[in-house]
Symmetry: D2
Subunit: 343 residues, 4 copies
């Protein structure tokens, strides 16, 4: 079996996770890693793993004729130009979410991949979580009939630092975008209208950047179902990631994952340890699986598991949510798109 | 201790439950029961319980000088005139929800009780449910800090018959009104704005009466918290009644009640029996407690547990929800009130 | 329907529970209550309930020609003579467990009831618990095939006072006897052999009376199944009452009952309130049901739900367990009986 | 960091798991694999992993001067001679359980490792399970006070084939031996006395080999605690692996692991998928951790996590259990040892 050579662009936490996961796959090699701030530490990190090339130059990776695929894990505003370059160079592309803050640019990037005949997979890793996959396959198999109400709870354990908030694109584009993709995934239908309500209840810093730290988002799906997402930037008990689908024949609900099943009864209460702390613990296996499926799609020339349209749809919902907060009323995805294209 | 004499008006299912619960209390007597359709069966039912008077004439009960309190359990459009009469006659009043479909009339009825110095308790029985009481007292005690997000799931096992749907006042006034009261109860704050989204997914009959069978209602509370209620007229697995409050220091979630704790593992799955089927099973003890507290409030001349303002607030939310669906945008309670008073 | 007149013998906690439950039943009257230590308080208690006769003389109750049935709730060593008297007087008998500490006397009492054609029901109230009934009916219906392993956990929240320990008959006759009956009930088979292991781990006072406070009892059933019971006199988290049956087609496990379903997540843990505290809370409904079924058995001349043989079998197991501890080896029920009869 | 070279002896399922886990560790190399039945398939398997040497000759591995440690994963009766050889050759040893069926030989093997100053770790992988580790550390930290009652449920999904039963050494030495080690591990104390009760309820084939398929084992610990283990060769719902410790200050209970947290409510029941099917799924991470800790013990010259005495103690309990069944009475470990040494 031919070895697939991969280059990583962006050596932050998530770029390193992808690199480590790629190296667990048979006949896959991480040849290069590019990072604008590549330093001695990164050299050591790469050396310990046998990654030969460390560079500050993204193009060096993209234009390497030996490289088959690139993982774009750099900051968001570099994604579109990198996708364009990589597509032109004929590389398959795995890109972290969101593709961009500008939906028209996202569309151009997706189009570039299509035209150049390269695969483009988006990093919506939660689709590969054992719990949510079970829900999705159950819904698809009709285990609970037609979906009527989709409920997603998605809360982070801690708010990010101010530096991150500033350039995050806001709670919808940065955090809830995973939930927007999840909503479409488990409902099996596109979203048509969005109503978002937000509040600054955790830290006034969010208000400073016209962002919110707490949000409720109501979704109307093309198949008639309704959806509700609740987000918070700070759940003191850890990462709260639950999904529920109510349908004509029943209800499916995924609870959180816990580090163990132990229940302790004392004179005060019956307790257990808190849920898995954050995304690295909770979605560890999901990250592995998305990477494995991307490689498999390349090798077998299959469709990728999460494609460019999935990026576009999730970004459109985020855009509509942002608009909804601003206008204080529900916003159709078509309106949001019209405004974006007209803007 | 003086015996309190009670008269029941309306001998439907709920009137009979109240009668039976009253008879379990020490020093309380159900003297009379009035029902427009009183018949041989009702006579037998009353005789078996030692209830002396059965009548078709509500006023006979209200004007009986020996009677201290009346339970108004007749159809909704009789509530307001009965409250007015009972208040004038100096009787304490327990009234089923909603007080009326017309908020200005509800306000008049509440005012009549106030002026005449009689107690008026509203039948929001769910406040006395063991699970929801635990949530409310935990929130009040600061167990999870300040509330940020209130979530209520409230789904019936079966849709009512067409005859009921027709005159029900719609899902918000008939069914969700319990959830509106619950939202205020557990959040400890009034609601300011409502956005409702509905769908007809279970039976087109609901559409015929400009009603919906599935609904999501977003609430904004005066204290800054956000709320979300999801309703369905048909959960095939039974009565789904869950509440969750997320706050600055944690999360409290009440699951459904089950007939037993038995878990059965077989070659196919690990299963348990379905939740308690409907309100009679689930809220059995809650009905008893609301009645007991009403009698206690009379005896000790205390404030009632659920007062006229609670009725007004819940009805206002229902009104705003109805308007929100019609207008396709969020509606403030003040707007809803203005429209109602102007109309 | 004819009113059944009942007399209560023994006005302790359990006698009063039975009295109150009897009064909730239609066409049942508690006419008399006898207690050696009847005093002003008992008079008041009876007066508040409309119980006409309070006496220190048990025979007055037993020999009252108007009385149909007696509830024997006095101390254990009075049970057998009272059963003999009541049987002679033609009264139906409900007797608390154990019938006696002496198996041959228990047998005589059971025989007396049989000969005189009166019903004798034993107070093994746990058979009527919602969870355990579900297990028993599931096992009987073949939901998990043939039972292979029966597991019972039965732990009290607090050890009794020394005065009680002294005359309790020991952990097996006093406390585990409920579990012995439960084992037969859910397995649907008699016990043939017993091996018991005990320890004094909670309070040395138990050792002073040649008793233990912690015990494991292995049972061998006639149908080939094996059973294990674990007992403790002190579970600091409350009343621990669980049952599990493992069979050829699956497993059924009943967990504890809780005062509510609320789960609270904080920065420290995910917790819930402790289980229902003790037998009054946990078996409240079960007490009601056993009483109701006893009255029904009288009225319809049916077999009682728990008969004299059930008392004999449970006492025999207790006897064998006691012997097993003493001898340090397993003991057959037939041996235990032989020794008792020979003694 | 120096690379540690490892040789695997026995290329069955468990040998291959260890090889794969070793290869995930940094600076560890699997140099050789020996199996009496090494064939083309094994050659392919090794080649795909870059394992250089495949041999039918165990000694070739043991005597290779480059090899630092051996994993003994061959059939039980080869363990002792291989340990003796490896110890003599100065190799560190990881040996699967049980070390042997003959306690005196096990002692000799353990002694050989000690004398030759090599590490000997026993494959009691369950100590590294996330749930059981949590229990053990909680008990050790005093989270529930002094342990009073240890309860272990350990049931396999399917009985092994006749060929395996024949030479398995019986349920105690083959299957329950894991539970015997677990009991000592979580109780933090040695076992002094054993009473075992067995039955053939699943397949008469077990009886043919004087074995049982269902067992209850009562343990008495040196610290005064009592223990109970229940085993079955066939739980149709999958691998049932639960542990519970009851103590003076509370109770800790580990439930099974499940493939997901999804709960599905339908018109029939509320169900979830069955527990993780068997040891490969359930103890996957535990296998990784025991291997990692063994390598770490070598590298840092620390004590191994599970030592020779742990093997001896577990085998002694198994021996006593076997004797107990035969004699129909409880057996002290000292008696079992005396008999074994005298035999």
């Amino acid at each position: 079996m031919k070895t697939i050579q991969v280059g990583i662009i962006g050596a932050g936490r998530i770029g390193k996770i992808h690199a480590d996961n790629l190296m667990k796959l048979a006949n896959v090699e991480v040849k290069s890693i590019a990072d604008l701030f590549a330093d001695e530490d990164l050299n050591d990190w790469a050396a310990a793993r046998g990654i030969l090339n460390v560079t500050k130059n993204n193009l060096e990776v993209i234009q390497d004729p030996e490289i088959d695929a690139v993982f774009i894990c750099s900051i968001t505003d570099t994604h579109v130009p990198l996708i364009m370059e990589a597509a032109k160079a004929g590389k398959h592309i795995f890109c972290e979410k969101p593709v961009s803050m500008d939906i028209t640019q996202t569309m151009q990037a997706v189009e570039a991949a299509r035209i150049n005949g390269v695969k483009l997979q988006i990093g919506f890793n939660r689709r590969f979580d054992h719990n949510f996959k079970r829900i999705e396959s159950g819904v698809k198999a009709g285990e609970i009939g037609n979906p009527h109400i989709i409920k997603i709870t998605s809360r982070d354990p801690n708010p990010p630092p101010e530096s991150y908030i500033k350039s995050s694109g806001g709670i919808f584009m940065d955090m809830a975008i995973h939930d927007f993709d999840m909503a479409r995934f488990i409902c099996g239908s596109d979203v048509e209208e969005v109503y978002a309500r937000g509040a600054v209840l955790i830290d006034p810093i969010f208000g400073k950047y016209e962002d919110v730290d707490t949000a409720l988002i109501t979704l109307t799906f093309a198949n008639g179902a309704l959806g509700i997402i609740d987000n918070s930037r700070q759940a003191v008990y850890g990462y709260d990631q639950r999904v529920e689908v109510f349908g004509s024949k029943g209800n499916m609900a995924a609870n959180n994952d816990y580090p163990n099943t132990v229940e302790i009864s004392t004179k005060d209460s019956v307790y257990r340890d808190k849920p898995l702390h954050f995304f690295l613990e909770r979605y560890n296996a999901a990250y592995m699986e998305e990477t494995s499926l991307f490689i498999q799609a390349i090798r077998e020339d299959n469709q990728v598991a999460v494609d460019g349209n999935d990026a576009i749809q999730a970004e459109l919902i985020a855009l509509a949510a942002k608009l909804s907060i601003k206008l204080g009323k529900p916003v159709k995805l078509s309106e949001a798109l019209g405004l974006a294209e007209g803007g």
